[in-house]
């Protein structure tokens, strides 16, 4: 199926959202053009509310009028619809696909709440707990890298794959956490393979095109914090 003129493919997102970044990087890997409509999550648009009534979140992909929500669902959709283009995001082998899906679920269920918890912690005690959880998750992912990469550059092998996108979208936020709290989530002394992977991932065209600087995430985190404080 052709990439389209970009008019029949729209993405609702924002630069600071790592989940929107996942989808934007997937589209980049496939070489597919689209209209990127930046959202203001503090003042949600009619289009967003109509397109994702269940969660009211980004990212939302709108393809030929059909809406697809949830970043990992969208990435799989993109991989399937544009199967012939760019490189494959999920592997062909069912077992390798299952392993990739397992680790993507782990990243969302275990790693994400932990590192977000570092930022949202109300006390130093809570923060320390979240830091511990984050490092525990990273330790598992260091092993996962060995299992998935099979000696190659990425979780997906020679090219960027599902797990690379699932984890890679957080890298600029890890930079923000380092700036704000002095915690290095991917620490070369603790997780050398992931540290090397992070360097390589950052240099891919998908990442270079899409991921913002950590400062942008820091700014956004400050904005969120101010809004939350004002709401109280």
């Amino acid at each position: 199926m052709a990439a389209g003129k970009g008019e029949d493919l729209k993405l609702l997102g924002l630069d600071e959202s790592p989940f929107a970044a996942r989808v934007r990087m997937a589209l980049s890997v496939k070489g597919v053009g689209y209209e990127y409509i930046v959202q203001d999550l503090f003042n949600k648009s009619e289009l967003l509310l109509r397109s994702n009534p269940v969660h009211k979140k980004v990212p939302v992909l709108i393809h030929n009028g059909n809406t697809i929500c949830e970043s990992l669902v969208i990435v799989q959709y993109v991989d399937e619809v544009w199967a012939g283009m760019g490189t494959s995001i999920l592997p062909a082998d069912p077992y390798k696909r299952a392993v990739a899906r397992f680790w993507a679920a782990f990243i969302d269920d275990k790693l994400f709440p932990a590192w977000v918890g570092i930022m949202r912690a109300a006390t130093e005690e809570e923060r320390a707990e979240k830091v511990k959880e984050t490092f525990a998750a990273i330790e598992h992912l260091e092993k996962a890298f060995v299992e998935c990469s099979n000696g190659k550059a990425f979780f997906g092998g020679d090219s960027v794959g599902y797990v690379d996108l699932a984890l890679g979208c957080f890298l600029f936020w890890f930079g923000a956490v380092h700036k704000m709290f002095g915690v290095e989530i991917i620490d070369a002394s603790k997780s050398p393979l992931l540290a090397a992977w992070a360097g390589r991932f950052g240099e891919t065209s998908a990442a270079a095109e899409v991921l913002p600087e950590p400062d942008k995430a820091v700014e956004y985190a400050m904005k969120l914090r101010a809004k939350r404080a004002a709401a109280k």
């Binding site: 059909n66 799989q76 959709y77 069912p94 899906r101 397992f102 782990f106």
Partner: protein, 240 residues
């Protein structure tokens, strides 16, 4: 004979295990079932699922696959030429099915747990409200997916039917366990009708645990955990 040895590590009360068993049954696949004692996990379980140490784990020719949704999709893909297809063919319909599967695991189960074992009546009540709201949203999802047909998968059982269907005994036990009726023919007519249709399937009858037995078991576990927590709190208080 090498090539298609299937072993499932499970626990009779686990709805996530039921999901996998239903999928295997629908596909007509033979497998060895190993009942795990979750208070005394086997070496095989700990080796096969070192990250979560949970059931279900499907072991196919010695290779473990973990997480129920991952396993069900694996079964569908690895055994694509055996039995019916669980996921739809069309990528958009697949995306819809995956979206609602994620919704079920993320938005239904958390308030359910809160309604079941919340520490205060207020917490439980909040859980109940969120649970009912989630079920109403899911009713909309069923309308979207089924397009007037009897099941989420349309005319035949699909991925989403399996995903929700695995939970059916627990869903039927909700009134006894959480104090709120989940499938009310007035509030959620489509889901109520779906529950009856799914429950009547051979796969459901073969796999799903008895609701009464499950309710008794769940109440016992809840009491056990509450007692353990109280004991731990008392011990901590004594130290101070």
């Amino acid at each position: 004979m090498a090539g298609d040895e299937l072993k499932l590590l499970g626990a009779w009360a686990s709805p996530w295990v039921s999901r996998v068993q239903i999928a295997l049954h629908l596909k007509g696949l033979n497998y060895e079932y190993v009942e795990e004692d979750l208070d005394n996990k086997s070496d095989l379980l700990l080796e096969s699922n070192p990250v979560h140490k949970k059931v279900p784990v499907l072991i196919h020719d010695g290779k473990p696959i973990c997480e129920s949704l991952v396993i069900v999709q694996y079964i569908d893909e690895a055994f694509a030429s055996t039995g019916p297809s669980l996921l739809p063919v069309d990528p958009y319909e697949r995306a819809i099915a995956r979206f609602w599967a994620a919704f079920i695991d993320d938005k239904l189960l958390v308030p359910w747990k809160q309604a079941f074992s919340g520490k205060t009546e207020e917490e439980k009540d909040q859980g109940r409200k969120q649970l009912l709201a989630a079920v109403e949203t899911l009713e909309g999802g069923l309308m979207e997916c089924s397009k007037g047909k009897p099941l989420f998968g349309g005319d035949s059982v699909g991925y989403l039917d399996v995903v929700l269907g695995g939970l059916l005994s627990w869903l039927h036990g909700t009134e006894a366990l959480c104090g709120v009726e989940l499938f009310d023919a007035g509030r959620t007519p489509l889901l109520s009708a779906w529950a009856e249709r799914f429950g009547a399937l051979d796969a459901a009858k073969a796999v799903l645990p008895d609701v009464g037995k499950l309710v008794e078991f769940a109440k016992m576990r809840r009491a056990q955990l509450a007692a353990a927590e109280a004991a731990a709190a008392a011990a901590a208080a004594k130290k101070n």
